[in-house]
């Protein structure tokens, strides 16, 4: 991306810069793949969801507004929607599907770019809002892709309790993010 202007990759896509299409893959590929890999494990849905995420990002790049939030947040949000779409649309893969071994799917080399992206998304303080149990349930749901019924079974909790805790935890995180963004006084927080 040497020589690229200060505009974000999505803005460059929206303005018709042909190189920006592949720059998006270079910039966010490892991040989206790492999320999908954790969410879907060894299922082919991981690759499908990453492909769908980039198709969506290329198509809706024009909807990104720097004034609304960071580019990485926009990318994360679109990628997550595609993961959720995949899991809703396909039969849930079996719990017994093993994760790929390290030889087939090596750990990241260095990881500086991914660390930078995650830092820029300002995500680290987010989870401090939650108790240990809330974190565990939310991690199983949002990060590891377990269904609510799978979480209920795994933690031996009523399904309704799992559903309620996930919803309320997410509402608290949303409120915390609005505070971080200085939007807490807009009346909707």
């Amino acid at each position: 991306m040497a020589g690229a202007s200060h505009r974000s990759v999505l803005e460059r896509i929206a303005s018709g810069d042909p190189r920006a299409m592949t720059d998006l893959v270079d910039t966010y590929g490892d991040l989206i793949w790492s999320l999908a890999r954790r969410y879907f494990g060894a299922s082919p849905l991981a690759q499908e969801s990453v492909q769908e995420a980039f198709l969506s990002l290329w198509s809706c790049a024009g909807r990104y507004s720097p004034g609304r939030g960071s580019e990485v947040t926009f990318v994360l949000t679109v990628a997550r929607r595609r993961m959720v779409d995949q899991i809703r649309h396909e039969a849930r893969f079996s719990d017994s599907v093993p994760l790929l071994g390290d030889e087939a799917d090596p750990a990241l080399d260095g990881g500086h770019q991914l660390a930078t992206l995650l830092n820029s998304a300002r995500v680290e303080p987010l989870l401090k809002e939650l108790s240990g149990n809330e974190r565990e349930i939310l991690s199983l749901s949002l990060y590891e892709g377990y269904s609510h019924s799978e979480i209920a079974k795994r933690l031996d909790m009523p399904l309704g309790t799992v559903k309620t805790r996930i919803r309320r935890s997410l509402i608290r995180l949303r409120r915390g993010l609005k505070v971080v963004r200085g939007e807490e006084n807009r009346g909707s927080g």
Partner: protein, 254 residues
């Protein structure tokens, strides 16, 4: 419970990937419809951002799960990106009349993009759209619509039983908001219950006027007699009760 709190509960469930039941989905639609458009979008986006950022926060803590994208996937996406870049001209160039060599160049780029799209949409698909067109049993049916707002849609669908693959082409299909609703293809085949057609996959209409997509049938299909497109909630549905916006049926074969 106050409507605003109930709305956030339902949005949180949706953003977390929960499959809302029909009653909750209807309730969510009604609560959103009662809000101004900008506020509605902000509420929905805020919750989805919270879910996405939480997912990233868990990844930030779990460095052992950081991965390089596999080389074959990266190469595939890079090729797709290049093909799309070649097909989608810059906004300034979109105003050039599509005539003469300009139109020929656009058509050539369309073919290149089609070939790449069909190749990369799924492992069961032919190497390019020419293979599909050349298959002895391929059939092509034009889209028809009697639904207001869709009468102008052009294009067709091509399907081959032997390849178990197909492609859809559209022109003038209204752009959808993928976060709210997505188009879904349905395939009606004689050996299956007509009330339960085969899911052909969800897709979005980009703002480029003309586009093509591969069919992604979820089940084997034999001698389909009709194809239909509906507009469903994001992610699609298992059974549709929506209007058939577009239909392509035997008897109108091209």
């Amino acid at each position: 419970m106050a409507p605003a709190n109930r709305l956030r509960e339902l949005l949180a469930g949706d953003a977390a990937g929960e499959r809302l039941d029909d009653a909750e989905w209807l309730e969510l639609k009604e609560l959103l419809a009662a809000m101004p458009l900008e506020a509605r979008n902000r509420e929905r986006e805020d919750m989805q951002e919270a879910a996405a950022q939480a997912q990233a926060a868990f990844l930030a803590e779990d460095r052992a799960s950081w991965r390089n994208m596999p080389g074959d996937l990266r190469a595939r996406l890079t090729a797709m990106g290049r093909a799309r870049a070649a097909y989608a001209p810059a906004p300034e160039r979109r105003t050039v009349p599509r005539s003469g060599w300009g139109w020929a160049a656009a058509a050539a780029m369309m073919l290149a993009w089609l070939a790449t799209t069909v190749w990369f949409q799924g492992p069961q698909l032919p190497a390019d759209s020419r293979a599909l067109q050349a298959a002895a049993d391929s059939r092509t049916l034009p889209w028809r619509s009697e639904v207001a707002g869709y009468e102008q849609v052009g294009g067709q669908i091509t399907w081959s039983d032997s390849l178990q693959a197909g492609e859809m082409r559209f022109s003038g299909l209204p752009v959808n908001d993928p976060e709210v609703a997505q188009y879904q293809l349905w395939i009606v085949a004689p050996e299956r219950d007509r009330n339960h057609p085969v899911d052909g996959g969800v897709f979005d209409a980009p703002p480029i006027g003309e586009f093509a997509l591969a069919v992604r049938a979820k089940l084997p299909v034999a001698e389909p007699v009709a194809f239909a497109v509906t507009l469903e909630k994001a992610g699609g549905v298992v059974v549709s009760d929506g209007p058939l916006l577009l239909v392509a049926s035997e008897g109108e074969r091209l």
